[in-house]
């Protein structure tokens, strides 16, 4: 009996090492939540099924701190990373990411070459490949809004017509842009104005006008909750969060697209990984027409034109990609320049 067990254990051990040797394993990190679930369903699982390689899919909370720690200590645990373009810019120029061979990207399923199929922003940085278009906008609740139905960024700052609390994320990003938009600065000039001391003062002055009516939160996940329980009548969040609340929980929320600040998420490869080839292979697959067409599950737009062939037409108007004209592209260059100094000024303003 004992001998039998031993043989079994030995066989299992041999089997395990054998399976480790034959199939490769890759560690991919992303943001989790419903977005992570959609990636699991449309990118990770199909890839594992197709190639037999194993992917460990983990969550992180964004930012470059962990990535920087791994690369600088030489202890690289992640291979592929999903990141916001605002972080990509910095991570890439600091040498935390591998350069991605964008010329190897396969054409779309309809035959369009990759360079034309992808939107321009998706391939703008040499270290990543665009994955989704997402946006930050505000929504209101039909049950709690008073004074009519807000339609513009000016309405968000108009507490006389639309009384009640506004909920915003506690950081300068997006809020500063919104303040200037509401103050009448044209979209094309927002970042130029914000780069000057006067422009920053103007944005803070506009925020000051509603300061007493702002509820601050720290994570997008808090936002739909605030709108639902009446903590605020207009709430800022990522569009996917509102979409999920509307679509799955039938909440009476309405998204306002005016002045939304959109950005991309990309797949990138961590510098120094010993599985670079496998990582490239995975990203080529994950940014194909079909896997990308699954992202509208969570209301994020695909970056490939050819993906729309797979998408239900009724969903398209609810995607950020249908509203790009009303929105403003978040400037990663601007925030790399002013993220820290405005972060400090913003905190100082909060404490006043």
């Amino acid at each position: 009996m004992k001998k039998k067990l031993l043989t079994l254990a030995a066989a299992a051990a041999v089997g395990m090492t054998a399976s480790l040797a034959s199939a490769d394993e890759l560690t991919a990190v992303s943001f989790g939540g419903s977005y992570g679930a959609a990636q699991q369903k449309h990118m990770i699982d199909p890839y594992m099924e197709k190639t037999g390689n194993n992917i460990l899919f983990e969550n992180y909370s964004g930012g470059v701190a962990e990535l920087k720690a791994q690369v600088e200590s030489g202890n690289v645990l992640w291979d592929v990373i999903d990141m916001e373009v605002i972080d990509l810019e910095r991570a890439c120029s600091e040498g935390l990411l591998e350069v991605f061979p964008q010329d190897q990207l396969p054409p779309g399923d309809d035959g369009t070459p990759a360079a034309e199929d992808f939107s321009e922003e998706a391939l703008a940085n040499e270290c990543g490949v665009g994955n989704i278009v997402w946006t930050v906008l505000y929504a209101y609740n039909h049950d709690t809004i008073e004074g009519g139905e807000p339609t513009s960024m000016t309405d968000f700052f108009d507490t006389a017509t639309f009384p009640g609390k506004r909920a915003m994320r506690k950081r300068p990003q997006v809020n500063m842009e919104w303040a200037l938009l509401a103050d009448g600065v044209p979209k094309a000039e927002v970042y130029d104005v914000l780069a000057t001391d006067e422009g920053q003062a103007r944005a803070f002055a506009k925020l000051d006008s509603i300061k007493d009516d702002i509820v601050w939160f720290d994570s997008w996940s808090q936002a739909p909750q605030l709108l639902n329980d009446g903590g605020a009548v207009m709430v800022q969040s990522a569009n996917g969060r509102f979409f999920a609340a509307i679509q799955e929980e039938n909440k009476p929320f309405e998204m306002v697209w005016d002045g939304h600040v959109f950005d991309l998420d990309v797949w990138a490869i961590v510098k120094g990984t010993d599985k670079k080839d496998l990582a490239i292979d995975f990203i080529k697959f994950a940014t194909g027409s079909k896997p990308l067409s699954g992202m509208p599950d969570v209301a994020y737009g695909p970056t490939r034109q050819s993906s729309y062939a797979y998408i239900d037409e009724s969903i398209v108007p609810k995607l950020p990609s249908a509203h790009l004209d009303e929105g403003l592209k978040a400037s990663s260059l601007f925030w790399a320049d002013y993220g820290e100094s405005l972060g400090e000024k913003f905190n100082e303003w909060l404490l006043q």
Partner: protein, 413 residues
């Protein structure tokens, strides 16, 4: 000879035995020492080191910095052409190794806007011939963007190049060094306010836990053991529950249409829901709840050990119950009370997760801004300086406590 009954050999033998036992003892604690060193001393040490030792820029552009040494920054003139040329050459090398972003981030701290300036210029000089850069690269750089003609960029670069520096500590104290070398107030004043606020919040929490914890601990110590044991479970149960769960529970209680507001409104105490979540009030209340066991447990163990006959003796000698309680019983609980207060105060001053979740703006503490510099702005050096000052502050308070109350008066359980 001090001990005439032992021979030399016997003494040596005895010494050897003692030494061997000492070694054995050290071997037993070696894993613990190693553990403490690896997980505690080393990380804190490197963080402290990081707050003043910062060689990044000096490693990236050594030649430029050597050239800049000869340039007097007060003059208001641009650095000499040799320095500019050296910079152009080194910038090209950085661009080739994809390290220009690192330099950009560092200089940007002293001159917001330098990040895109350096990155775009790095792209511009990437493919220029090396010989050309060596002879006239400086002019290329100046032509690439008019911001390079601003002396302040070069001042910021020279400043970021010093290896050992106190700049991060100055910033952490809301100070900075002017181009003339004087120490002046910064435009943005935030860190001192935040330290002060953290102290205040920690103080409120300590007082609240003491006021609520004291009667409870007294009751636990004097109740029949069956009741006391049951109640003790209620004290410990939250202690074993996840911190996040407890904090989230407070969100459900305090939110606009949450449990507390619903009750207040149904009792017609208020007509409008009170704004409680995302305030300092929420931070104080939630942390008081979370840190309560740290106050109750030491108090309880001290009270348990107080002989009830002292109190009875005071009564039988004619003291009224309340003065007897205050003058006889309370002084004997001081070791527990001060241990609890010290624990609660020190834990709460560096607390992060609860203020982040329920604190809103006026419930922010210094730990939240340290997290901002670790995670968002990537300024680990400033985060290290802020953390070091916090450590210093706590050590100072501990020393003060030792002078006033005495550490030997402490009883943790």
């Amino acid at each position: 000879m001090s001990n005439p009954e032992l021979t030399q050999d016997e003494i040596r033998q005895a010494d050897r035995n003692i030494r061997r036992r000492k070694w054995l003892a050290i071997m037993f604690v070696a894993p613990l020492l190693l553990f403490i060193f690896v997980t505690f001393v080393a990380p804190i040490g490197t963080m402290l080191y990081r707050s003043f030792y910062h060689p990044t820029v000096a490693e990236l552009i050594p030649d430029t910095l050597t050239q800049l040494d000869e340039w007097s920054e007060e003059s208001g003139d641009l650095p000499p052409p040799a320095a500019l040329n050296a910079f152009a050459v080194e910038l090209q090398a950085l661009a080739a190794e994809r390290l220009s972003g690192k330099l950009a981030e560092e200089v940007n701290r002293g001159y917001p806007g330098a990040s895109s300036l350096i990155k775009s210029t790095a792209r511009a000089v990437r493919r220029v011939d090396l010989a050309e850069l060596q002879s006239s690269g400086g002019q290329l750089v100046l032509d690439a963007n008019k911001k390079w003609s601003d002396v302040n960029v070069w001042r910021a670069m020279k400043k970021s190049g010093s290896v050992f520096k106190d700049d991060f500590y100055l910033t952490a104290l809301d100070l900075e060094r002017s181009p003339q070398g004087e120490i002046i107030q910064r435009d943005t004043q935030i860190y001192l306010d935040l330290y002060w606020k953290s102290l205040k919040i920690a103080f409120y929490i300590t007082v609240l836990t003491a006021i609520i914890g004291f009667p409870l601990a007294w009751y636990l110590a004097n109740a029949p053991s069956r009741i006391a044991n049951t109640l003790m479970i209620f004290v410990l149960l939250p202690f074993w529950t996840s911190l996040l769960v407890r904090t989230t529970a407070w969100i459900a209680l305090l939110q606009t249409n949450g449990v507390v507001n619903s009750i207040l409104m149904s009792l017609h105490i208020t007509d409008e829901p009170l704004e409680m979540l995302y305030t300092q009030f929420a931070t104080v209340i939630a942390m008081t709840h979370i840190l309560m066991p740290f106050m109750i447990l030491p108090l309880y163990s001290v009270m348990k050990g107080i002989d009830p006959s002292y109190f009875r003796a005071a009564l039988s000698l004619g003291a009224k119950p309340i003065p007897a309680f205050i003058r006889i019983y309370m002084p004997m609980t001081i070791p527990g009370l001060s241990a609890g207060a010290l624990l609660v105060f020190i834990i709460s001053i560096g607390y992060y997760i609860t203020p982040a979740l329920v604190g809103g703006t006026d419930g922010q503490m210094i730990s939240n801004i340290i997290a901002f510099h670790m995670q968002s702005s990537n300024n680990w050096e400033l985060a290290a300086a802020l953390g070091s000052l916090l450590l210093l502050l706590i050590t100072l308070l501990y020393w003060l406590y030792d002078r006033l109350v005495g550490i030997s008066n402490l009883k943790l359980g």
